[in-house]
């Protein structure tokens, strides 16, 4: 998030898109609803599904999945034409506006309606509501990013915020809600193919030298590595021989599960470190028992760059070991130096010494203050509630021209429905933890697919009956939930359930830059089971 969870309450207008906030980030959802209902902040929701937030919104735009560039460009076009753009902010703090202005001019309300299905008058109301707000915040999640045009969607959100001057102040910003407790931290720590900790790129020799000196090694690669989906393809081709997977379950979480299983089986060696024998661990040659969050000390970094302590409550279960201990012991066994730490606090000291945005973070400060929001550059730095105040990190805020493109796989005669996937309120990701939590499993014990009532009637399917879903990648069977949460032609399936695994169906087409798969759109056929 450019801003903080807390300052969402200072917004005059909140635009939520591609985030089922009340189910997936309920505590943030509550805060947004409080801003809306108690302070009168305007609430705009753009989502293909009639989620709970859509019911509360002042305005609900029901766009076709994957059409986000079109309606976001369309909003900008109206804002510019209505003289609601922040000319001073654009002139002083950004570059690229003229090109964007020229491009969005082609996204007239009728063009946008044709691409996105959003009625012209509703688009206009949304543009005025967002454009007239003194402080407007954009909130999004994977509904924006999990597309072959995901990067363009994010750039369109950033353009909209920049042309209205909605960055660098409390109650504004471009605010992705991160779906995992420490996905922000894993990125910050350089568990990414192109960056060392703190986003210091591996292709810059200065950074490589810095880390080689600190780690006492030579020969760190300057070649950007393979992303998770590329690793799977390289494993299938035999180029990657061995994989080490810590705490991830790609068999259920990656697109096109059948392909993932084949690729992992093609490896010469698969090592999985996890707390349960997940669907991925079942394929491993060696399984190492790690520890849950309750059995170790450490830190997690939340969606608003908030670093907080994780504290050990109980000793490791059985002979399991904390994941940091396992990494250190294996590295030492292989002859690596620099893996003899007494505690996670000591590891954080090394992180802080090499990562400028974490330089002021220490366990002592976290114990005393509860949290620190990065950038936190010195021991005196109180941290940063919102980014880009006065100046962007790169100097001027860069606006990018983005154009609408169809998703990679659109419905056709053979596969006439669009499938979109996600989570529900009771389960988390591949369910390895929540499906083993008795109360959560009791609330939502089986897979299902949301089907519009008219589509269900045509198929001859009643609520609660089993349906078969087929795509070009595979088929699953799940219970039909006949509901107007989804419009005609769209079905939704959660990916938590191994026995009705939505990712058997999904399309492994990637955004060319971020390499994020298009989980939110693929073509399927429905049949009564």
């Amino acid at each position: 998030m450019t801003n903080s969870v807390l300052d969402l309450e200072e917004a005059d207008c909140i635009l939520i898109t591609g985030s089922n906030t009340t189910e997936q980030h309920p505590i943030i959802g509550t805060r947004i609803l409080r801003a809306h209902e108690e302070r009168g902040a305007k609430l705009i929701v753009a989502d293909p599904r009639r989620i709970q937030m859509a019911i509360h919104a002042d305005l609900w735009l029901r766009q076709r999945p994957g059409s986000d560039v079109a309606w976001l460009n369309g909003m900008m076009n109206i804002i510019i034409n209505e003289s609601l753009a922040d000319e001073e902010f654009i002139a002083n703090r950004t570059e690229g506006f003229e090109e964007v202005k020229e491009a969005v001019a082609r996204y007239t309300p009728d063009v946008v309606e044709r691409i996105s299905g959003i009625p012209q008058e509703e688009l206009r109301q949304a543009a005025l509501m967002y454009g007239q707000a003194e402080r407007a915040a954009i909130v999004y999640a994977m509904g924006i990013t999990q597309h072959t045009s995901g990067v363009d969607h994010v750039k369109a959100c950033a353009n909209l915020a920049m042309i209205t001057g909605n960055l660098g102040r409390a109650g504004t910003g471009v605010n992705p809600l991160r779906g995992q407790n420490n996905v922000q931290g894993a990125c910050d720590m350089g568990a990414l193919v192109n960056v060392y900790p703190g986003y210091q790129v591996v292709t810059n020799p200065e950074f490589t030298q810095k880390f080689e000196e600190a780690w006492g090694v030579t020969g760190c690669s300057d070649k950007v590595g393979l992303t998770v989906t590329e690793m799977i393809d390289a494993a299938e081709r035999g180029e990657v021989k061995a994989m080490y997977i810590m705490g991830e379950n790609p068999v259920l979480s990656d697109p096109d599960s059948n392909h993932v299983i084949e690729a992992l089986q093609a490896l010469d060696l698969l090592v999985v470190q996890d707390i349960f024998l997940t669907e991925t661990a079942e394929l491993a040659d060696v399984v190492l028992p790690g520890c849950s969050y309750a059995e170790k000390d450490g830190t997690f970094t939340g969606t608003d760059r908030r670093v907080q302590l994780v504290r050990q409550a109980v000793p490791p279960i059985g002979d399991s070991k904390a994941d940091w201990v396992i990494i250190c012991e294996l590295a030492q066994r292989m002859g690596a130096r620099g893996f003899d730490y007494a505690s996670p606090a000591q590891i954080m000291e090394e992180i802080a010494s090499l990562t400028p945005i974490y330089a002021g973070v220490s366990y002592q400060r976290l114990e005393e203050q509860g949290f620190l929001q990065w950038p936190c550059r010195t021991a005196e730095d109180v941290g940063t509630p919102y980014l880009h105040e006065g100046q962007f990190t790169r100097g001027l805020g860069k606006m990018h021209v983005v154009e609408y493109q169809d998703p990679a796989e659109m419905p056709d005669d053979e596969y006439p429905f669009m499938l979109t996937t996600g989570r529900n309120m009771f389960h988390f990701h591949t369910g390895s933890m929540t499906r083993r939590s008795a109360k959560l499993e009791q609330e939502s014990p089986e897979g299902y697919v949301e089907v519009n009532p008219e589509d269900a009637a045509e198929l001859g399917v009643s609520d609660g009956e089993q349906v078969k879903l087929l795509s070009r990648r595979g088929e699953i069977q799940a219970k039909a939930w006949v509901t107007d949460r989804v419009p005609r032609g769209l079905v939704f399936a959660p990916f938590h359930y191994a026995e009705a695994a939505a990712n058997v169906l999904t399309n492994p087409a990637l955004d060319p830059q971020a390499k994020i798969p298009e989980y939110k759109v693929c073509a399927v056929r429905l049949e009564a089971a």
Partner: protein, 135 residues
């Protein structure tokens, strides 16, 4: 009987809610919200209230497992470490560092993510390290 509340951070989404794990005689038996926390303000969602639910589940892995003739058997840590160390070293020397790939975890701590990318970059010699941020 020994009872403690341990202040920690929720293991589910990225909101960053605080919670207390209720620990009775060495077992986590429940979850409580934290009134004074700036993000969660004494509230939790249904997953947060159940953040203790899986910790002592009977399915927890308690020993390393090694596959032998298609079946897993329990092994000691030394045997598992030696097997991984030998095989990874020989892949690295036979096929080069980029024949190895590592997935780190958005469920693990910052310190663990830091160490796994350090191990991958500094010792294995490849940037083939990623996690589920894209998924």
């Amino acid at each position: 009987m020994e009872y403690r509340n341990v202040l920690t951070t929720c293991p589910y989404c990225g909101t960053g809610c605080a919670l207390y794990l209720q620990v009775l005689d060495g077992s986590v038996v429940g979850t409580l919200p934290v009134k004074g926390h700036p993000i969660s303000e004494g509230a939790l969602c249904i997953k947060g209230w159940n953040a203790h639910g899986f910790i002592h589940h009977a399915d927890r892995l308690t020993k390393p497992l090694i596959r032998e003739q298609g079946q897993f058997r329990e092994a000691g840590w030394d045997e598992a470490y030696n097997l991984i160390a030998d095989r990874f070293s020989s892949f690295k020397s036979d096929f080069g560092p980029d024949s190895l790939a590592v997935l780190s975890s958005a469920k693990c701590t910052n310190e663990e993510n830091y160490l796994l990318q350090k191990f991958t970059r500094a010792f294995l010699g490849t940037n083939n390290v990623d996690h589920c941020a894209r998924l």
